[in-house]
Amino acid sequence: MKYDTDTHAVAVAHGHATFMGLDSRKMAFWAFIGSECLLFGSLISTYLVYKGRSLVGPYPHEILNIPFTSFSTFDLLMSSLAMVLALAAVQRGDMKQGKLWLFVTAFLGLIFLGGQVWEFSHFYHEGLGLTTNLFGSTFYVLTGTHGAHVTVGVIWLLTLWVQALRGKLGPANAMTVEITGLYWHFVDVVWIIIFTVVYLIQ
């Protein structure tokens, strides 16, 4: 293009000197999280509207395993802690720690996902399929949507980790890690709500 020269980028467009003084990607991510709140809000509302309206069992109290899921919840909370440590390390340029904590975050996410896979298959063997009753449908769609979010987060974290291993992630990319962290914490908070609504308040 005619004006495509490499001389210098226009600062105002690149998130350094934005009007609000906030990185554009970060702001977009907050907007995205706002949107996601409505997504999970609708799914949780659907779950609540259909609570106790299943025509046949298994019913929630017969099948939900609170101790097991409490462990998963704890695991996911710890992954948020690891995420905080990863971001702090990247921000101060300590890539050795950064790599470690990025991996730990992703690994804890994987454990959570493993727990969910185990839980789903266990429920399935207990007779709760996706189409068995409204509880099954609302439960699998709600927790499955969350699980899909965790999966995306794990892939994202592992991508950053690989980038870090290849030496392509440094303090200059701290904002990328920060946004990843925003996403990860959001997914964690959503889980706390789901855990409360689905498991604790029966």
Binding site: A13, G34, L55, L134
Partner: protein
């Protein structure tokens, strides 16, 4: 060609949006004309019931999602960065992605018209046929066994992604990319209404996405979210749909209100009367718009308490809407009004929108709505607000910004023919519908009893609809003929006040030679408080870097319809192929060197 496929320039994407949406507008209009031809007399012209149901479903879906929203998006794209003094939107590639997803989603939906043979349907068209709000449980596998509803629910999911991506992009663009000094209360009203619209988009679309996903599970995997046979409730669909659907109405009308708020001051040579009130009434409308969804469901028997709450909340919306109308009249009052085509359409917008707004009050009242909902009276209402409102507003914007977008002026003479034909046609078409409705003609019927006494009104409606069709062809001709003319439009042909008029028509690829510093709301005007802004230098004092373009937005977007095709054919490998394209596209996009 390649430069258009890979473009990330907001102006080119704006033009792509414009032409694509205008093409869909003509398709939706053609569907409307077939509907009107069929209804001109009780016996019709032989359109089959099934075909008729496809036509009105696709007419509504096309006009809402493929014509009006993206026509507004064309202006968001082209005009917003110019109005706020930016070089581009915040995320140019995401912007391109939005366009390609919209285009492919629209093509996917319309492919249903010729996809019949692929599904062994025995006839050509398997277009969606359950109405544009697709009420459960008619949309269930049991009552809609064909692929028709699948096309609809998959197509709308794709289009929702386009809208959401654009929503995030424009929220950030307007908040973050403003030129220095462009404080919130210095934003042009169109930028304000766009910002409000985008907040509605990012909060409303997740809700319909959930509704569509649940419906998809019902249809593809056998769940019972909306099926009473498994304990589900079809009314849940109505709640979810209208929690999206009512904000959607404001998503459609607020941009047009923004356009009118630009056009009236320019051609009255007066600042917008009560700018802050107009802005805040837009915010109030959007806010209230979230709390009124159940007024679409008064006939479903929600009970007197819910009816009262929703009727009351709905009536409240009349207040900020009325305030806007009074402020527009206040803008005209005492001005020096130049009767350009753009101004005529803006005044036409006010005149027609009042009618739609007032008939809206008659069905905000829950009891009277019991005689109006699902009749032609409501059809008249939605067309007075969405045609008399949104489309007239968009036409005002097209005549206003056409020189900026193309560097050529539209013919004012043809423009006036277009305006008067449109006004006469739309009133002939939509006004008698009030009467057909009050005389007991339900909507969505392909035939009616001659004894109802509505045949005469229907014939008039049909004549009016064809006049609107002719008017649209006049406009199409007006646009096409300018393309043979030289680029002669001045930078500021209307002597308007906002920043997009400070740069040449059409704008250079970098928009502004230097980013202006804004000190007031009407930078190009002389007012009692300030003089016009100093002209920008003709050449950039320093080289400006403009990004080259990228294939990945389009490739990533292509993954979505491929996934939808796989879901449609229940063929998992195709779904995974689409997903793979999507993932690869996202990765290449993320790691592509792309500097602004």
């Amino acid at each position: 060609m390649k430069s258009w496929l890979t473009t990330t320039d907001h102006k080119r994407i704006g033009l792509l949006y414009f032409w694509t949406a205008f093409a869909f507008f003509l398709v939706g209009g053609l569907e409307a004309l077939i509907i009107r031809a069929q209804l001109a007399s009780p016996s019709g012209i032989g359109v089959r019931a099934e075909t008729f149901n496809q036509l009105f479903t696709m007419h509504g879906t096309t006009m809402v999602f493929l014509a009006l929203m993206p026509l507004s998006a064309a202006f968001f794209n082209f005009i917003i960065p110019l109005q706020i003094g930016a070089r581009d939107v915040a995320f140019p590639r995401l912007n391109a992605f939005s366009y390609w997803v919209f285009l492919l989603g629209g093509l996917f939906l319309n492919a249903s018209f010729v996809a019949g043979p692929l599904f062994g349907a025995g006839r050509l068209s398997v277009a969606p046929d359950a109405g544009w709000f697709g009420y459960a449980n008619l949309t269930s596998r049991q009552f809609s066994p064909g692929p028709n509803v699948d096309f609809w629910l998959l197509g709308l999911q794709i289009l929702g992604i386009a809208s959401l991506a654009a929503g995030f992009n424009f929220v950030v663009t307007i908040l973050n990319m403003r030129a220095p000094g462009m404080r919130m209360l210095r934003l042009p009203p169109f930028a304000w209404m766009t910002l409000i619209t985008q907040f509605l988009v990012i909060t409303a679309f997740p809700v319909i996405t959930v509704a569509l996903v649940l419906l998809m599970f019902d249809r593809l995997f056998g769940t019972h979210f909306f099926l009473p046979s498994g304990g589900g409730d079809p009314v849940l669909w109505q709640h979810l749909f209208w929690m999206f659907g009512h904000p959607e109405v404001y998503i459609l009308i607020l941009p047009a209100m923004g356009i009118v708020s630009e056009v009236l001051p320019t051609f009255s040579r007066k600042p917008l009367f009560g700018y802050t009130v107009v802005v805040y009434s837009g915010v109030v409308i959007a806010f209230l718009g979230w709390g009124v969804w159940a007024h679409h469901m008064f006939a479903s028997g929600l009970g007197p308490i819910a009816d009262s709450v929703f009727a009351g909340a709905t009536m409240l919306i009349a207040i900020p809407t009325g305030v806007k109308i009074f402020n527009w009249i206040g803008t005209l009052w005492g001005g020096q009004i130049r009767f350009t085509t753009s101004l005529l359409f803006a005044v036409g917008f006010i005149a027609m929108f009042i009618i739609g707004g007032l008939s809206g009050v008659t069905h905000a009242s829950a009891p009277t709505d019991l005689q109006q909902t699902d009749t032609y009276y409501v059809v008249a209402h939605i067309h007075y607000v969405l045609f008399g409102g949104t489309i007239l507003g968009l036409f005002a914007g097209m005549y206003y910004w056409w020189p900026k977008m193309t560097g050529r002026l539209l013919s004012e003479r043809l423009g006036k023919v277009h305006f008067w034909l449109t006004m006469i046609g739309m009133n002939l078409a939509f006004f008698p519908m009030h009467l057909s409705g009050l005389l007991g003609m339900p909507r969505r019927i392909y035939t009616y009893s001659p004894e109802l006494g509505v045949a005469g009104f229907n014939l008039v409606s049909t004549i009016g609809a064809f006049l609107v069709g002719i008017a649209s062809l006049v406009f199409l001709w007006n646009m096409l003929r300018t393309h043979r003319e030289p680029v002669t439009a001045p930078a500021n042909p209307w002597n308007a006040a906002t920043l997009e008029w400070a740069i040449p028509s059409p704008p250079p690829v970098y928009n502004f030679t230097v980013i202006p510093t804004v000190t007031n709301r009407l930078p190009l005007w002389q007012t009692e408080r300030h003089g016009p802004m100093a002209p920008l230098p003709e050449r950039p004092p320093t080289p400006i870097h403009v990004p080259g373009g990228s294939w990945w937005p389009m490739i990533t977007a292509a993954g979505l319809p491929i996934m939808a095709i796989g879901a449609l054919g229940r063929f998992l490998p195709v779904v995974f192929a689409g997903l793979l394209i999507l993932i690869v596209g996202i990765y290449r996009w993320a790691f592509e060197p792309f500097e602004m």
